[in-house]
Amino acid sequence: MAGKPRSKGRQRVEMKPIEENNARKQVTFSKRKHGLFKKASELCVLCGAQVVIIVFSPANKAYSIGIPDFNMLVDRFLSGAPAPPSLGFAPQIPTVRELAKQLTELMNELEVQEKRAKQLAEISEESEEKYWWEKPIEKLELSELMHLQGLYEELRRKVAERADKLLISEMALAQASMPNIVPLPGLEANPIVRNDNPAPQVFSFRFGEN
C-alpha cells in the first residue's frame, strides 16, 4: 500500500485578487465561505453573539446566514433599534445544542482517526526502511518483485492452511454442542450411534494441532 504523498500543508497566501485562475478562485471562494460561516456559527454558539453575513460569489450568486434570525437582525440593523427580546438566544435552543454536541463528537472522532493514520504512516515508514519487501511494489526492482512473488506464494499457502485448521476446529466446537449431528470425517471421534433418542452423547475430539 503506497503511502499518501505528503502535501505541503498550510501555505501563506498573498492577499491580492486571484486573477489568472477562475477555477482556483471558485474553489477558494467555496472553501473560505464555508470557513467564514463556520467561524460565525462558533462565535454565536460560544459567545451568544448575533450575526448576519451576506456574500456574493464570483458568479454573482448570493449566500447568506443569519443567527438567530436573518430578517429580524437586518431590520434591527436598518432601524438602529435596540435588541428585540423575542430574538432568542441561539446557544440555548435545544436543536442547536444537540447538533453542536454531535459536531463536537464527530470532530473528536476525526481527531482520533487522524492520529491513528499518522501513527500507521510512521510505522510503515520505519518498517519500509528495515524490510525492503514492505515497500510499495512500484518502488521495487524486477528481481525483487520476483523474489517477493515467491514469498507471497508461500504465505498464501500457509495462511490457507491455518484458515483451514481454524475452520475445522471451529466446526468441531460447534458440533460438540449439537449432539444430534454426525461428526465430519477427519475428526477423530469415538464411534457414535446415529441417534434417534435425544439423550446427549459425549464425544471426544482431537483438534488439529496448531
Binding site: 453575513i53 451576506i54 456574500v55 448570493a62 435588541a83 440555548q92
Partner: protein, 252 residues
Amino acid sequence: MARKKVKLAWITNDAARRATFKKRRKGLMKKVSELSTLCGVNACVIVYGGDDSPPEIWPSQSDAQCVLNRYNNLPEMEKSKNMMNLESFLRKSITRLKTYVKKQQRDNKEYERTQLLHEAVRDTNALQGVGTDELSDLVCLVEETMKAIEERTDAHSKKRKPPSTKASQYHGGAWEDKRVKNGDSKGNPKSSVNAAAEEGKVALEKAMEDLQRQPWFMDVMNPTRNSGNTGDQMGVPYLNNGAWANPFPFFQ
C-alpha cells in the same frame, strides 16, 4: 497562540466568554476581508454582542448597506436558495465531517490490513490470534498483491524492449539487452559479430515477439485496419521500410 480544544457550547465563564468574543469577532472580520479581496466579491458582516451595544460592521456602515441593498433587490428565489441558519449550517457541517471520518476510517482499515500482511510475511506465528474472517481477508489481500506484482513484472519486461522511433536505436537497444542478458562481457562489437550472429537470430525472434506485443506494431502490419494509412505509403511512424525488410541489417 495557544491551541486548545474548545467544546462547541456556550462559555459559562463571563470573563473567558468576553475575551473569546472579542478575539473571535476580530478574526471573523479578518476572514471576510480576505475572502472579499482574494475572490473579488462583495460581502458584509454584522455582529451584535447579544446586548444593546452597537454592532461591529464590515466593511463599513454605508458599504454594508450597499451590499444589503444589492441583496434585497434580488428575487425571493435567489435569496432563499442559499440562505442558511444555524441549524442548517450545523447539519451541513455534520454531513461533511461524517464523510471525512468515514474516509479516514477506511484508509486506516486498509493500512491495518497491509500491516497484518507485513507481519505475516515477517513471521507466520504472528497469525496466532487471528480469526477465520481476517484470515480469509488476508488470503484475498495476498492474492491481490500477487496479481499486482504480476502486472508490474510484465510492465518491467516490456520496458526491456522499448519501442523506439528510430530503427537503429531499436536494434541497438534489443541487441544490447540480449548481450547483457547472456552475460556477454565482450564490449567489442566487431569481434563478437559472429558469435553474436547466432544470438542475434534468437534475439531476432524474441524481438519479433516483443514487437508483436506492442499495439502500434499490429496497426503498422495491417494498415488496412483503420490505422489511417493509405495505399503504398505504409506510413510507418516507428520503423522505416528499409529496416523493416531486414530488422538486423548487420547480419548480411
